[in-house]
């Protein structure tokens, strides 16, 4: 696909999403769409570290939790306006990400995944047990909302943020930094051998992905009005990984499609009720075995094949 066409597709996608509040008559679908857009932010962040850099981080939901709790608690204790606490949440998350990323990025592959997972477990344990601050498992309710809780307005806020952050992710991916991240995924030793300090770039990707997650968490908290530690458990971190894999890791459109899938798929599978977890796991296993390049990857391959046929039939 050439550049203008790509931009055109993105604009059409943005415009059709922007019309959703007018088109959706069932308000519940609008609710889900807002969640999906929040997950777009989450998945774009996850894609930076997982898709581009090749490090599967399982602490996404934990960072989302740090963003959600810090925004909520800053609002409660310092009486800051909500928009300000939402803006501060990614910064707080970045501090935690620096502290956790430095030790965990010393190990590679599976071990990185396990260590980040341990961090997610620690975050949840602390959220549960530090009751004075977090109110424990009961969670915090009545979190202030923006614009008196207007769903339509919040939809547009989240849509614009998701679009901007997708653009930012695309810019990072196309920059020299993005190229180095891709190179790290392919052969980290080689990157080191030509004199590039890979750890700086890995830490950068890790922290930026955490900031995405922190912002997503804050947006989630002020949308739902309620948070508790369980929401930010390992299961949700796995959802973020699933979103990236299903959509297409290392692509910009992938996380967008993946985010909508992980939010809407459980709703579609609702008929399966208690089999949901099994089905979900099965989809993840099958997708990884048979479609490791994700939906976007499959589409790209199909388009390439089609256009090749066009050329042949023209000739």
């Amino acid at each position: 696909m050439n550049r203008t066409l790509t931009i055109l597709v993105w604009l059409v996608a943005f415009a059709s999403l922007a019309m959703l509040p007018q088109l959706l008559t069932i308000k519940y679908y609008l609710h889900l769409s807002i969640l999906a857009l929040i997950w777009v932010i989450m998945a774009q962040g996850q894609n930076l570290i997982q898709g581009y850099t090749g490090y599967v981080s399982i602490v996404g939901a934990g960072f989302m939790g740090i963003g959600a709790y810090s925004s909520t608690l800053l609002g409660i204790h310092f009486h800051l306006p909500t928009w300000a606490t939402i803006a501060m949440a990614p910064l707080v998350t970045a501090l935690f990400a620096l502290a956790t990323g430095y030790p965990s990025l010393r190990v590679k592959g599976h071990y990185f995944a396990i260590v980040t997972l341990a961090f997610n477990l620690i975050i949840v344990i602390v959220l549960i047990n530090y009751k004075e601050l977090t109110n424990g498992e009961t969670g915090i309710s009545n979190i202030p909302k923006l614009w008196g809780g207007s769903r339509d307005a919040y939809f547009y806020l989240v849509l614009v943020l998701a679009a901007c952050l997708t653009l930012l992710a695309a810019l990072i991916a196309r920059s020299r930094v993005g190229e180095i991240l891709l190179a790290i995924r392919q052969n980290e030793d080689l990157v080191g051998s030509i004199g590039i300090a890979a750890w700086k770039y890995k830490l950068f990707a890790f922290v930026v992905s955490a900031m995405y997650a922190g912002l997503a968490g804050a947006l989630y908290a002020h949308f739902q009005g309620f948070i508790n530690p369980e929401i930010f458990g390992v299961a949700q971190s796995l959802d973020a990984i699933l979103a990236v894999i299903l959509g297409g890791s290392g692509t910009i459109a992938g996380p967008v499609i993946g985010a909508f899938l992980v939010v809407f798929l459980p709703e579609l599978l609702r008929f399966a009720d208690s089999f949901r977890l099994i089905l979900y796991g099965l989809i993840l296993v099958l997708a990884t075995i048979f479609m490791p390049i994700g939906i976007v990857g499959v589409c790209k391959a199909a388009i390439r094949r089609l256009s090749r046929k066009d050329i042949r039939s023209d000739a």
Partner: protein
């Protein structure tokens, strides 16, 4: 104070035994196949659930239920290798790990579906308590510790002394050379998965008898298992044994003296510290 430390050390030995068994399974799978078998915890807990089911619903004596669960575990291990991991053998290692995550979700879902949400305790009927000085030792803990030692010893003997064990070590050492020497590299992963899963099931039964099995605890155990590997050094048997025992005792003492709510945090902090100071693990070879 000293008595309290001794008491917690003995408590820690039992849980340490569980960690060692889980870690041995993980370390063999990792050593041979390079797979971080994340579903190991959930599969182990499946074994615990199964034993509970056989004892309570089917009325089997525990002594009969345990071998059945171990055999089922072995078969389950074979199935997992063939269906889930074999297809991604030659793909990127990340893919194998994501398959493992999906598998975890499936096994957790199956556990919920078959055995429900309630936490279960395997009835053993072993309720005697020995007193030595000021220390109390429940009979059950002693059996658990003995069983763990026997299983670990058996595993060591198998890997060190038998022909199959040699083949396993050969594949771990150098896969290509092993193929050239006529080792059947198709059957080795099967055997490894079968045995590892059996060991995991044994650990699951111990957890069910000592504490309780509930949805979601498998994840905690598998992460502890990996923490043990990191503590002891990858692919190292003595490392796994030392690491598991150290983790069990540390955790138990920390729970007794600092805070039981944060005991898991302490285990993970130890793991992260080891990574920072000695990334190759306590007994690992330096890279």
């Amino acid at each position: 104070m000293l008595i309290e430390i001794l008491q917690q050390t003995i408590n820690g030995l039992a849980i340490g035994g569980v960690y060692v068994l889980i870690a041995l399974g993980l370390t063999t799978v990792f050593g041979i196949l390079g797979i971080a078998h994340f579903a190991h915890g959930s599969v182990s807990m499946f074994g615990g659930y199964l034993t509970f089911f056989l004892v309570t619903s089917q009325g089997l004596p525990l002594i009969a239920a345990i071998p059945i669960a171990l055999v089922v575990g072995f078969l389950l291990g074979l199935l997992i290798e063939i269906v889930a991991y074999r297809p991604v053998r030659n793909a990127n290692h990340i893919n194998a790990f994501i398959v493992a995550l999906g598998l975890t979700m499936m096994v957790e879902g199956i556990n919920l579906q078959l055995f429900g949400h309630e936490q279960v305790v395997i009835p053993t009927g072993l309720s005697k308590v020995f007193r030595l000085g000021g220390i109390t030792v429940p009979e059950l803990r002693i059996y658990v510790i003995i069983a763990a030692i026997v299983l670990v010893a058996a595993m060591m003997l198998f890997v060190e002394k038998t022909k199959t064990g040699q083949a396993i070590r050969a594949v771990a050492e150098n896969r290509d050379a092993a193929i050239l020497m006529g080792v059947n590299v198709k059957s080795i992963p099967l055997i490894v998965f079968g045995i590892s899963t059996s060991l995991g099931v044994a650990a699951g039964i111990m957890v069910g008898a000592l504490f309780a099995i509930a949805p979601g605890i498998g994840e905690g155990f598998v992460v502890k298992g990996f923490a043990v590997l990191i503590l002891g050094g990858l692919g190292s048997f003595p490392g796994a044994i030392l690491g598991g025992t150290v983790l069990g005792i540390t955790e138990s003492i920390a729970a007794g003296f600092i805070s039981s709510a944060y005991k898991d945090v302490i285990a993970f902090v130890v793991m992260i510290l080891v990574l920072l100071i000695r990334p190759q693990g306590l007994l690992g070879r330096s890279p």
